[in-house]
């Protein structure tokens, strides 16, 4: 059946990724660069979920910022409370500044408990996704409608957060986070620890997503993407199939948001609105939405280019970014992950359908 090289390909690639992320990167990179990589890896975690929901399930999840934000705020609320407790204050610093009372709002209180806060970073996004998904998929709202609704969701959450300055920090968000479960984030050693946690979570979630991709559920998800009506005639409820992918992707985005907070030290409405939400999808689109590795590498690459180029050449970077989206999504729908296949087909006689892709890629070049 399968040769040994084929059998070892996936575990081998996984091992290589683990060595690169956990072994080589921490040694080769400076503290500053490693902390940047930690941030990019958070975006990559979101991309794992995007690859599942969008790449495999065809759900255009343009509101992942909502789940990233819920996870991020859940974590940041706990860390702010812990910081306040360390300095002997009853409420976080920004509340003393903007707030009207000395009492902690009731919905902040449970987040003082670390176990509750940690659970919420994943459960809260999943619960919101389950509710939204249930309402939306059950009524067969799909395609463009779903894309716009999820975008509106991201806009609504960020606008709401901005409006509640006294309890959410408003436009500033929750900033200036000092500690992470008792470890000071100013200490580079602890920053490295945060990096290791993030890299390990990414590898773990990639393994989980890979299992979902090759499982029977993964096949069914592709079937729903390609012909939802047909799946219904086979006796499945496509709404449930989509719901699982949407909720899992939301959980991953939530976890990414939670890890983003200690890595970067801030969570704010600007990080979760419409623009960053599209950004989460763009990375996966550039790398290859249906390919797990493609989506992850795409997310890392776009985030890297963003922070490297935008500082030095802000205008040129914006043009480049726009052009990248147009070319990658418009003319290479499989993303960079499909570049090899497309080029190989160019050399061999192509069937009409494949021909089309090749011609379009050629025009773009």
């Amino acid at each position: 059946m399968k040769t040994i090289t084929e059998r070892l390909r996936v575990p081998g690639a996984f091992l290589l990724g683990a060595v690169l992320l956990l072994g080589i990167a921490p040694v080769a990179l400076s503290d500053f660069r490693l902390s940047l990589l930690a941030k990019y890896l958070c975006y990559a975690i979101v991309a794992v979920g995007v690859s599942l929901a969008w790449g495999r399930g065809g759900l255009m999840v343009l509101g992942q910022g909502v789940f990233f934000g819920l996870g991020g705020y859940a974590m940041a609320m706990h860390l702010k409370l812990a910081d306040a407790a360390d300095t002997g204050e009853k409420i976080p610093d920004f509340m003393q500044l903007y707030g009207t009372s000395d009492a902690l709002p009731w919905w902040w209180k449970p987040f003082a408990n670390p176990a509750f806060a940690l659970a919420m970073t994943v459960l809260l996004p999943m619960a919101v996704a389950a509710l939204v998904g249930f309402l939306v998929f059950r009524r067969r709202v799909k395609g463009a409608y779903f894309a716009i609704l999820s975008q509106a969701l991201a806009a609504a959450l960020s606008i709401w957060l901005i409006g509640q300055q006294a309890t959410t920090g408003g436009t500033n968000g929750l900033t200036d986070i000092q500690g992470f479960f008792g470890y000071s984030l100013d200490d580079p050693v602890n920053q490295r620890m945060v990096y290791f946690v993030i890299a390990a979570v990414l590898l773990l979630l990639m393994a989980l997503a890979r299992q979902l991709f090759v499982s029977r559920y993964g096949e069914l998800l592709v079937a729903v993407r390609d012909s939802e009506e047909r799946v219904r005639f086979l006796g499945y409820d496509p709404a449930n199939v989509k719901l699982v992918a949407y909720v899992v992707a939301a959980g991953m985005a939530g976890l990414a948001g939670a890890l983003f907070v200690p890595a970067v030290g801030i969570i704010s409405p600007a990080l979760i609105g419409i623009v960053p939400s599209i950004g989460f999808v763009i990375g996966a689109a550039v790398g290859g939405r249906a390919s797990l590795v493609g989506a992850v590498l795409g997310a890392i690459a776009v985030a890297w280019a963003q922070s490297t180029l935008s500082d030095e050449f802000p205008a040129a970077w914006t043009y480049l970014q726009g052009l990248l989206f147009v070319l990658a999504v418009g003319f290479l729908p499989g993303g960079l992950a499909s570049l090899g296949t497309v080029l190989r087909r160019r050399r061999t006689p192509a069937t009409p359908k494949e021909e089309k892709v090749v011609v379009m890629a050629g025009e773009a070049a």
Binding site: S215, R216, S227, E229, L234, G235
Partner: protein, 255 residues
Amino acid sequence: MSGEGLTVRDLRVSFDGFTAVDGVDLDIGPGDLRFLIGPNGAGKTTLVDAVTGLVRASGSVRFAGQELLGRPVHRIARLGIGRTFQTATVFEELTVLQNLDIAAGAGRGPLTMLRRRGSVPEPVSRALETTGLTGLRDRPAGILAHGQKQWLEIGMLLVQDVRLLLLDEPVAGMSHEEREATGELLRRVAEDRTVVVIEHDMDFMRSYARSVSVLHAGKVLSEGTVAEVQADAKVQEVYLGRAAEPAAVPVPEEA
């Protein structure tokens, strides 16, 4: 072993004031191979849409003692009713085996779903054999020939263990050989199930139908064996506007 019968009573479907199906009664017995024929717009496809829950209808449709109208599509499917469409719809990016495996799995629990497929399930390998697709099982369904896609669709209904198959123009666009192979396949399938076929191809109908219903303007015009229907003066009139042998009339394909 035989399948259960389908009973339709006073079925009506209308779209914004236009009545597509206008009081149809049908009794399709267990193990029948029934052909539904009729000119374009007679309401054949709409009838099947109503039975499978795709359009809202009034009246009554009973199968195996259960009322079907008002149930959602996937619930009707779980009662053992399967259909195909005029254009073959298979999951093009999945292999033949994956297509059949998905069709076989509507009752699977979450734990099975989250695991990779171990071996080929028994009903799937039987369906591969019945449809003659065993040799193609690891090919993506998208590259199959037109006829093979239709067989795959029928195979997907078989692994679902469907008791009633509703096929919408299964041989449209097929070559002569493919038609014969499909006819034989339908005969085998009808041995222990009930099959309803919408068809325009009169030769095909004459060769394989056990019984025929002629629909016209949303109503049942005539019903019986092939010979009885062909002899019916009303049928001849509908097909030609004058008395003639209906089978000689080339009926235009539906768009």
